[in-house]
Amino acid sequence: MAFVPPDLSVNISSLTLKNPIMTASGTFGYGQEYASFVDLDKLGAIIVKGISLEPRSGNPYPRIAETTGGMLNSVGLENIGADRFISEKLPYLVDSGACVIVNLIGNTVEEYCELAQKLDKTSGIKGLELNISCPNVKEGGIFFGIEATSAFQVVGSTRRSTKLPLIVKLSPNVTDITVIARSVQEAGADAISLINTITGMAIDIETRTPKLANITGGLSGPAIKPIALRMVWEVSRVVEIPVIGVGGIMNAEDALEFIIAGASAIQVGTANFVNPKATIDILLGIEKYLTDKNINDIKTLIGTLKI
């Protein structure tokens, strides 16, 4: 019998991804930066760095501190703005054959809508990820992400501004993530991705100053994986829309944990810094697991945790 490779494709609402592996926004630049290590069209999707209407310079330096099994970043909103993204970065990505999803940041509901409208009209963009969870800037949408009513508002309005598949990225800095998840679903989100970084801090005991100029930053990396996994499990049990797992995924085993917990797809963030080929290694590892276990369609693995 000929070997039939397992079917790795997954559906995020109307969008079919060739496999469940995406890059997490802000950790993979605009794709091109990692092109020496990864064939961009091999991945399920590339989610680019958060884009705002106007270019932003971000937070002051230093913007990074390493912690045990993790890192704090306070990059903030630094990005080249929607126009330059479209003219300078998107063409390369489209040429590479990548499935491009754009991560959106805004200060106001109106900004999110205007941005969504603009990108809706741009060809080559396959989906939007609404970042209502950046903990590094007051205007980074975090306000929308920690309170169910405002989350509902911003998602609802953006929903009406675009026909593109709309993923909403949630903040883990909340008491009950299922409340926010439900209201975001209610507002018309096509999928939910979680988690963004967890607010943290580090101090230089020699100078007695915060290690980040911004005082606090967002914790990412394997340190947060157990928290992300728990939230993905909690949310996927209460919503009908697909859930995308993010947070500390370093290898195929980690990715499989999220899929078994209920994630339809996963995003790789900090792992790219540790291993620039992490996404591809995860893809190969998942394929091997499915083959070894005689699972011919990854969709049948999603949410199969036995409890």
Partner: protein, 294 residues
């Protein structure tokens, strides 16, 4: 840029805190040029998590015997043990493996017609300057002069001076405690050089500096006054090393060349925004005029 699981060929303790390590990585060795660096993953586990940046200190071509032993071309790094990552590295031994990415970044830009080069180093800053000196001396065609001005706290921080002399570099040393060379800092050596008969105004030496930020700032002042070109290699904490994460950065004055085709600077704000450059991708070597020192 390559990711290589390289073998440690040697990891020699030069002094209790300084080590020189040789890494087998033909792909990187064949493409590297001075001022570029590596990102090293120092552990197979996840603590320390992030890669550490190290300048390329030297690139060695393989001898016949080495090629037979499958240890062809290699890259050397020179490092100081300052924290947990470098501590882990210091315990590595011949035969151990280290995952490295390189060569990374915009290194020193070399003019073929270079006549006189002044290399200015502070402490571990010698790391990248040695490969630069080797390259200027071996690659250029004409006879040229390379002067190396090196400063450090004490004689223990003065590394590699015999290596520089061996390849024909003139070395001048200053230590803060006077334990080696003159007592003073490297800018004293620089002022001395400019004040001495060695320097003819108008002779246009090229300057290259690598060392702690404070030193680079002082060196820049002296050199900018002389209206000489100077390239400096900066340090910054990094995560990706490939220009993707935006955590490394330095504030620069917008240079005309930076303005991408079709981009119009609409507002002062937008001009400002173009002022941050990534040390890993746009640098680590910058023109000293570019930098805005706080």
């Amino acid at each position: 840029m390559y990711q290589v699981l390289s073998k440690v060929l040697f990891n020699n303790e030069l002094s209790p805190v300084y080590y020189r390590m040789s890494l087998n990585c033909p792909e990187i060795a064949s493409e590297a040029y001075p001022g570029q660096f590596l990102m090293a993953r120092v552990s197979k586990q996840l603590d320390p998590l992030l890669r550490r940046p190290f300048a390329i200190h030297s690139v060695k071509n393989a001898t016949a015997k080495e090629i037979k032993m499958d240890t062809s071309s290699c890259v050397e790094i020179l490092y100081k043990v300052v924290g947990k990552g470098t501590k882990v590295m210091s315990l590595m031994r011949e035969g151990d493996e280290m995952d490295i990415i390189g060569p990374i970044g915009n290194g020193y830009r070399l003019d073929r017609n270079i006549q006189t080069a002044i290399l200015i180093g502070g402490g571990i800053g010698v790391a990248s300057l040695f490969y630069l000196a080797e390259t200027i001396i071996t690659k250029g065609s004409k006879a040229k002069k390379v002067v190396f001005l090196l400063g450090g706290k004490t004689k223990d921080d003065i590394l590699c001076i015999e290596d520089f002399k061996r390849i024909g570099v003139e070395v001048r040393v200053a230590t803060e405690d006077g334990s080696l060379g003159c007592k003073g800092v490297v800018t004293d050596l620089l002022s001395d050089y400019f004040g001495s008969g060695d320097y003819t105004p108008g002779s246009s030496p090229y300057c290259f500096a690598c060392g702690p930020e404070d030193m680079l700032k002082e060196v820049s002042k002296v050199i900018v006054e002389k209206e000489l070109p100077c390239q400096i290699s900066l340090e910054s904490k990094m995560a990706c090393g490939v220009g993707a994460c935006m955590v490394c950065g330095v504030e620069t004055k917008p240079q005309l060349g930076d303005l991408r085709k079709g981009t119009v600077l609409k507002s002062a704000k937008q001009k400002d925004e173009m002022g941050y450059k990534r040390v890993c991708k746009d640098g680590p070597v910058f023109d000293c005029n570019e930098i805005i020192w706080e």
